[in-house]
């Protein structure tokens, strides 16, 4: 029995690693369609990764071991996060091991390493990108925590799997606080993954970069790992969103069998396809904010999440107690 669950856990992680670049590619494709450009092929991110893995690394002479270790640390944390998030099933060893607060801590660890590595070489752009990333991060984190608290209050647990199980137990529950939390989560997702209102993932203008500025000094396999880690991060955020707000199809605790697992995979792919299209739509219709508007944007996300909590206390407490 233990071997089977372990195998499933490994399968889930392998699937996450494998399809994360596909998700990024799908978003890029949808975006291109919506903007009337000819789209890059869906497998473009994989080709990019292959190309980068074949190249030789060019390192700055001042690079410290931290700079070289960071891509591996980043990739490792994102893989661990993918193991914690119940994207396919809730009854998995890693998913039980850490709760959502630990997950946020994991994301924070990755951010700290990435920022330190960006400052390591000492170029102006890397330092600037790191500072901006920290600014966005420290504003986005409380908002994300508040979103999580919304879900915790609703189902009385801080572990993501039991949230999904709790949802499966009362599927008909519409709690008004969920709308607030979902909007706040979407805003945080866009900000944390360097998407458009805060940062432009496709930018080539150094002065407006946040995420890309931190990668400027990386090359070859290091860059490939960083890119892969950032697409895994987006995938992870999407899966957290599914677990919190749309946990349909995820194989719940006690429900066993290959059929449910296959169904879970199909459901995940379907949800990712829709989510990618929605993200691309949002990015196509909104303009990038000035950096000094970013605190306002994230303050709004935070407030929405807090409002969700308040609304839950006022309305939700009476309706399903």
């Amino acid at each position: 029995m233990r071997e089977i669950t372990l195998a499933r856990q490994l399968g889930e992680v392998a699937l996450a690693i494998a399809i994360a670049p596909l998700f990024t590619g799908w978003i890029a494709q949808c975006r291109a369609w919506m903007q009337n450009r000819s789209a890059p092929p869906l497998l473009q991110p994989y080709r990019m990764l292959r190309k980068l893995f074949q190249k030789d690394v060019a390192l700055a002479t001042e690079a410290s071991p931290l700079f070289r270790a960071t891509p591996y640390v980043l990739f490792g944390t994102m893989v661990l996060a993918a193991a914690i998030i119940p994207s396919l099933a809730t009854d998995l060893p890693f998913a039980q091991a850490a709760d959502a607060i630990a997950l946020i801590g994991l994301f924070a660890t990755a951010r700290v390493f990435q920022s330190l590595a960006a400052m390591d070489i000492g170029t102006a752009f890397g330092t600037m990108g790191a500072r901006r990333e920290m600014m966005v991060g420290f504003l986005a984190e409380p908002a994300l925590l508040m979103v999580m608290f919304n879900a915790f209050l609703l189902y009385g647990s801080t572990a993501l799997p039991s949230l999904v199980d709790g949802y499966a137990a009362h599927p008909a529950l519409i709690d008004p606080s969920v709308i607030f939390a979902a909007i706040a989560f979407l805003m945080v997702l866009l900000a944390e993954n360097a998407r458009i209102p805060i940062d432009n993932p496709a930018t080539h203008l150094e002065l407006t970069m946040i995420h890309e500025a931190m990668l400027l000094e990386y090359s070859a396999r290091h860059l490939a790992l960083m890119e892969w880690a950032s697409s895994l991060k987006l995938f992870n955020y999407a899966c957290v969103g599914f677990a919190l707000f749309f946990p349909w199809g995820i194989a719940t605790h006690g429900v066993d069998g290959t059929g449910t697992l296959l169904l879970a995979i199909v459901a995940l792919l379907g949800k990712l396809a829709v989510a990618g299209a929605v993200l691309a739509l949002i990015e196509s219709i909104s303009a990038k904010l000035r950096l000094f508007r970013a605190p306002e944007y994230l303050a709004i996300a935070f407030l929405l999440a807090v409002l969700g909590l308040l609304v839950h206390l006022l309305l939700g407490a009476n309706t399903h107690a």
């Binding site: 008004p176 709308i179 306002e296 303050a299 407030l303 308040l310 006022l314 309305l315 309706t319």
Partner: protein, 221 residues
């Protein structure tokens, strides 16, 4: 019983939407967007009134929902839209208090409103009594918007949003006001917007702008 429970949940959901729109109004700078949000607020109000009417079996509430639809979703937004186009007042100036701070104050107001409404809603018997706190919060947030904005047009939109909040409070606490009063209020609001529209032009003629701080001094120096 189950149906009534579902309707209560839907009304709660709509109430949450109303609160969301009030916050969106606080955070917007463009006047056109504000009008769109105002129209949405009216639409949500109309829907929730219909739901309450269906649940309570009151025909008058359907009339007032229809009145809301005609006046607040179509009529007033259209008038305001035309006014803004004629006045060329697409943007509000930077508000008196900056937007994140306004939102924080709004949050405090929401907590205050919820606390205030708690004992009142415990006495009410309607299915929607929980939403009284939200209605109160919408009223206070509209007040806040009127206080923090500088332009006359945005203040008028704040005033109209406040009226929406009052209407929602009336439906949620007592299944609506008597029809005569409702008609009277609707007419008042309509006439009020007409008169204020005339005022806009007068203010602009006098001061070359719609900024209301010009009205604060009694004499020109």
């Amino acid at each position: 019983m189950l149906k009534s429970h579902l309707i209560a949940q839907l009304v709660n959901l709509l109430a949450a939407g109303l609160l969301l729109i009030s916050f969106a109004m606080l955070s917007r700078r463009r006047t056109q967007r504000l009008i769109l949000l105002y129209a949405w607020q009216g639409a949500i109000l109309c829907l929730s009134t219909c739901l309450v009417a269906y649940d309570a079996g009151l025909t008058e509430l359907y009339y007032s929902a229809a009145l809301t639809l005609i006046l607040k979703v179509i009529g007033l937004p259209w008038i305001l839209h035309r006014l803004i186009e004629r006045l060329g007042a697409q943007w509000d100036r930077e508000p008196v208090v900056n937007i994140p701070l306004t939102m924080l104050i709004g949050l405090v107001l929401v907590i205050f409103a919820f606390g205030l409404a708690q004992p009142i809603s415990e006495m009410a018997t309607t299915i929607t009594r929980n939403t009284l706190g939200i209605a109160l919060a919408v009223i206070l947030l509209s007040f806040l918007m009127m206080i923090t904005r500088r332009k006359a047009v945005t203040q008028v939109i704040g005033f109209l949003a406040m009226e929406n909040g009052l209407f929602f409070a009336a439906t949620s606490a007592t299944y609506g006001m008597p029809m005569v009063i409702e008609l009277g209020i609707a007419l008042d609001v309509l006439v009020g917007v007409f008169i204020l529209g005339i005022f806009f032009f007068q203010i602009r003629e006098q001061f070359d702008s719609l900024d209301l701080h010009h009205l604060e001094a009694l004499k020109e120096d």
